[in-house]
């Protein structure tokens, strides 16, 4: 792999940009691998990368039924933060946040992580109490999060309407300064390039149709539309389609899949310096470096695999955006789309071994998996390599729904799910 640098840019500029090589190869699948990862999104490609980099396992295939990064990795609103309430969540999300800081250097790929601050608006006494509880819990866990008055919030985000006559008045905000955004596609591409450089096979347009088992019940490999591929270890990292894949191995999951929508506006000059979220009126918004406002809407109320969603869900969010930021009332929206998110009963992910020997699952990230990409991939690689969880993901088992030891961010979440 030829290293990307300012010198490489200068060299290529001199010779008409004819020397750039493909960022990853598309090899024919082998008959057998040490590890198969199902799903070439950020979490799956990252898992392959960390398996190769930190655990010395390079005989890996990442199978993808569509195209690389075409699922939720390419469909989210790219928000990164780690201000979760419980110790377990704080552990995994802050592990991810620490990896975001330095990921571009690690991958030699600009993932455009920008710690521009994530501000959560408080609209009433209940919000204020919940956010202050979060702030104290976060600080005990060494995670930055601070309380702002409405005036300070407006200073941090000038377009914000803090007048008392606003439709949704604001009585303060919680700010995590290390939070921010990253370039979602670059995360998938960067991990793919770095993994492929270490010998990982990335096989696109390869849909898994079955999971093969040995007579003793352990995993033997997978059936795909490109033939049978053997492996002793298989990791399922398939977001909204996890239930479908796990059913092939006879494992019923505590997951429901919902459409989640996002949309972008026409691009405009820099106007919005941070990320703003409002739980109470359900809106979140930031501005991409290209200039589009990136807006996240809610999930539909019914389970679906349709990768679309109701228009009323979008308009509900836009109503709130227009009230919070009156200057955006005349903005035109350019595109909207949906992704399928897999939601667990406690709204915390599952990164764990399964009842099937050699089968591992990383799922349940629900409406907020992008922020966790590097941390999730890092500890999931550890889990696969050692056949035992890392201490960070040890609480995120499949068995917690039997034992009752839930990590109930559903009740504690800073955003509505």
């Amino acid at each position: 792999m030829r290293k990307y640098s300012v010198f490489a840019v200068a060299r290529e500029a001199m010779r008409g940009h004819r020397g750039w090589e493909a960022q990853w190869t598309s090899p024919e699948p082998r008959k057998e691998y040490d590890v198969i990862i199902i799903g070439a999104g950020g979490h799956g490609l990252g898992t392959a990368y960390y398996l190769a980099k930190e655990h010395g396992i390079t005989n890996i295939a990442v199978l993808e039924k569509g195209w690389l990064g075409g699922g939720n990795t390419g469909r989210n609103t790219t928000i990164i933060r780690s201000n979760y309430l419980y110790d377990e969540s704080a552990g995994i999300y802050d592990h991810a946040l620490k990896l975001w800081d330095g990921l571009s250097q690690d991958l030699n790929y600009n993932v455009m992580y920008s710690a521009r601050g994530v501000m959560m608006l408080s609209h009433n006494i209940h919000d204020q109490q919940v956010f202050k509880r979060h702030i104290h819990a976060n600080r005990l866990n060494g995670i930055d999060n601070e309380w702002l008055t409405p005036e300070q919030a407006q200073e941090f985000c000038p377009p914000l309407d803090i007048s008392r006559s606003a439709r949704y008045p604001i009585n303060g905000a919680a700010l995590q300064r290390r939070g921010g955004t990253a370039r979602h596609d670059a995360v998938a591409w960067g991990y793919a390039r770095a993994a492929a450089d270490r010998g990982v096979h990335i096989i696109q347009n390869c849909e898994v149709t079955g999971i093969r088992r040995n007579p003793d019940g352990s995993v033997a490999g997978v059936d795909t539309n490109r033939g049978q591929i053997n492996a002793k270890k298989v990791g399922v990292v398939a977001a909204g389609h996890t239930s479908v894949l796990m059913e092939m191995a006879g494992v019923r999951m505590p997951l429901v899949s919902y459409p989640l929508q996002a949309l972008v506006s026409e691009p405009v000059k820099p106007i919005f310096p941070c990320v703003v979220m409002s739980n109470t009126v359900h809106a979140y918004i930031s501005q991409s470096d290209k200039g589009e406002l990136v807006i996240g809407a809610g999930t539909d109320q019914y389970s679906s695999y349709s990768q679309t969603g109701g228009l009323q869900i979008i308009t509900h969010t836009l109503d709130a955006i227009c009230e919070l930021f009156p200057i955006f009332r005349r903005m035109k929206m350019m595109r909207s789309w949906g992704g399928i998110v897999d939601v667990t009963p406690d709204r915390s992910p599952i990164l764990a071994k399964t009842p099937v020997q050699g089968l591992y699952v990383n799922c349940g990230w629900g409406t907020g998996g992008f922020k966790a990409t590097p941390g999730s991939a890092n500890v999931f690689a550890h889990t696969i390599a050692n056949d035992a969880p890392h201490k960070i993901n040890a609480p995120f088992t499949l068995e917690r729904f039997r034992s009752g030891r839930l990590i109930d961010e559903a009740a504690a979440a800073a955003v509505a799910h």
């Binding site: 479908v244 059913e247 019923r252 505590p254 429901v256 019914y302 009323q312 009963p345 039997r402």
Partner: protein, 114 residues
């Protein structure tokens, strides 16, 4: 937005009047205190999360307020039929999606294209 036929009101109404109520045809256990943890997990937490034809409960919350059941394709979001609570699972092989498709999705139109 979906148009849903309420079998009690006997008319199609907008999705906004309804709430989905989870899987249909699930018998709620009567011996919950004596159940094993495995059985309780299977009832309370685990879901089939079907991709394709699913049977589910809906409630006409802002209408008659009653629960009824529906057969819906979770890929196209097309309702095959709705029927009153307590009725057995209908034979869907005889049903075709309603002539006026309630919703048209990209995937659905693609698979319809011949």
């Amino acid at each position: 937005m979906l148009l849903i036929y309420c079998p009690y009101c006997e008319e199609e109404r907008s999705e906004l009047e309804f709430r989905q109520g989870g899987d249909a045809h699930i018998a709620r256990p009567t011996n919950m205190t004596e159940m094993s943890d495995e059985d309780f997990e299977a009832f309370f937490f685990l879901r089939d999360n079907v991709k394709g034809l699913t049977f589910e409960r809906w409630r006409h919350l802002n209408g008659c307020g009653r629960f009824f059941n529906a057969a819906r394709d979770t890929v196209s979001d097309k309702f095959l039929t709705t029927y009153k609570a307590g009725l057995p699972r209908p034979d869907v092989s005889t049903l075709r999606p309603a002539a006026s498709a309630p919703v048209e999705t990209y995937e659905a139109t693609e698979s319809d294209a011949k």
